[in-house]
């Protein structure tokens, strides 16, 4: 499996996608992420492991806990970004085009 496929698969899960987006916002610890998603800390840890194995995020020790960052390597990041960009663009387009035409 190529790493882009792995990244795609990793982001296919809605919870993992949410976790990835949280980490994209700013580096966070497992505890911080767990407070933001409706799953247990051990489930979050499993998701983080998948994201790490797909080279989407990396982990750095900070004090007693680990902090997760976006992994600056890998084309998958650009693809993930584009996927989000176009999804957002088309959603906004739908709102615009369905407004009654201005005369």
């Amino acid at each position: 499996m190529t790493s882009s496929n792995a990244q795609l698969t990793a982001l296919g899960d809605p919870t993992r996608r949410t976790i990835f987006e949280l980490i994209a916002e700013r580096p966070r610890s497992v505890a911080e992420i767990t407070r933001q998603v409706p799953v247990s800390q051990s489930a979050v840890s499993q998701h983080l492991k998948v994201l790490r194995n797909s080279h989407l995020i990396r982990m750095e020790p900070r004090g007693a806990s680990n902090v997760y960052h976006i992994d600056p390597q890998g084309l998958g990041q650009m693809r993930a970004w584009l996927d989000r960009f176009w999804s957002k663009t088309l959603a906004a387009y739908k709102v615009t085009v369905e407004q009654p035409p201005k005369e």
């Binding site: 790493s3 600056p72 998958g76 970004w81 085009v97």
Partner: protein, 161 residues
Amino acid sequence: MTTHISPSPVRQSVVVEAPIDRAFKVFTEQFGSFKPSEHNMLSVPIAETVFEPRVGGHVYDRGVDGSECRWARVLAYEPPNRVLLSWDISPRWQIETDPEKTSEWEVRFTAETANRTRVDLEHRKLDRHGDGWQGVRDGVAGDQGWPLYLQRYADLLGRAA
């Protein structure tokens, strides 16, 4: 580590309640009104985004200070069915001047009924940006390019929240 990365195209679709002619017209003429505002390579806010409706034209952002950023070339313009554009932005988040290193995005419009249109977007040939990625990987320690861009994007999200 894999050495050859060939990402699959990004595919997105949306069905809109509008006739095909209007769907095409709004997508091209009003592109700047729905393009996410964080898509900005200028150092100043965007005053307007222009989609030039012809092959050989560009999509460009004009900043409030008059500066311009041409980030897409119109490769096909076939109203009301299809447009094909280049994506001239490198993984370092800079304008890519070598067309061989640009990806492309196609938008197809299909009438489902007289008042309903399906819009399919495909952003493909992403691997053509590949050399840039190697450079990013080897030379940039994560303070430029997409990580920076993601951060800027996140800052905007944070502000909007």
